[in-house]
Amino acid sequence: MDNQKSLEIISQMIADTSNQIERNSGKYFLCWGYTTVAVSIFEYFVMCLHLNTALIWAWWLIPVIGGVATVILARNETPTPKSYVDRSISAVWAVFGASSLYAFVAAVVYSTSMFYLIVLLMGMGTVITGAICQHRKLTLCGAIAMLLSLIFPIKHIAIRDIGAERFQSNSDWLIYSDIIIFAVIFLVMMVIPGHIMNCKSKK
């Protein structure tokens, strides 16, 4: 075996293994992204149409559907070796996922807004994942989501200063628009990069 052949083998095997990471990540982003968007749109209509208030518990469908789908997707995967990058990404999402769940529970218990904190945490997770995978578009989408998270406190301050009564009278859509903004940010942060990652790995 000549030296050139040795180099070819080394680079080929290392490239094959690192390509696996991208192939696996896209579907998880799509699964969590689409679940969040669908449940958010459902909740928006529940709020706007003043349907049964018990339907507010449907927010729990996000961790339930997302969690179950993640387990199913992981089980159906062809067994691949776990790299250090895989372990880092898993650790990042375990921490940010648990923090978001905590923010969600705290928001329910103390009746505060959960959107700002959840978007910020998920955006941070996406940026870190993009940086680890060296995926610039994923990093960019996460950074955009982090910036967009500022919409929530800004909107809250604007409504408080202008006067909540003025909005509450006949502008439910404006009050509940937080939910739609939340869905759109998840579309930008998870669904779009998920599709980009899947397209790239299929090529």
Partner: protein, 97 residues
């Protein structure tokens, strides 16, 4: 004076196995077989040679009812691979000069 290339790694299949294992925590026999395109018999022999040299650890177990052989690079293997790549770089730089 050029360093000699490690004869254990200067074989197509053994080098491919070590190159796979260098980037992962562990890889199972089936994955290595698929990615190297080797036959099961030949791969077993080469894995055994790497194991005896202390370059890799081999763990035999079961996933459900299916047997699974898991390979993991050791510190000795990691050092040997680094030395092999360094030696290779020297050969190439001498050739280019």
């Amino acid at each position: 004076m050029l360093k000699p290339l490690d004869p254990l790694l200067h074989s197509e299949l053994r080098l491919a196995v070590i190159s796979i294992l260098i980037g992962v925590e562990a890889a199972d026999f089936v994955y290595i077989k698929q990615h190297t395109g080797a036959t099961a018999g030949n791969l077993s022999v080469q894995i055994d040679k790497l194991y005896k040299a202390g370059y890799i650890d081999v763990e035999k177990g079961f996933v459900g009812r299916k047997p699974r052989t898991l390979c993991k690079i050791t510190d000795v293997g990691r050092t040997a691979f680094k030395q092999y790549v360094d030696a290779l770089k020297d050969y190439i730089s001498v050739k280019e000069a």
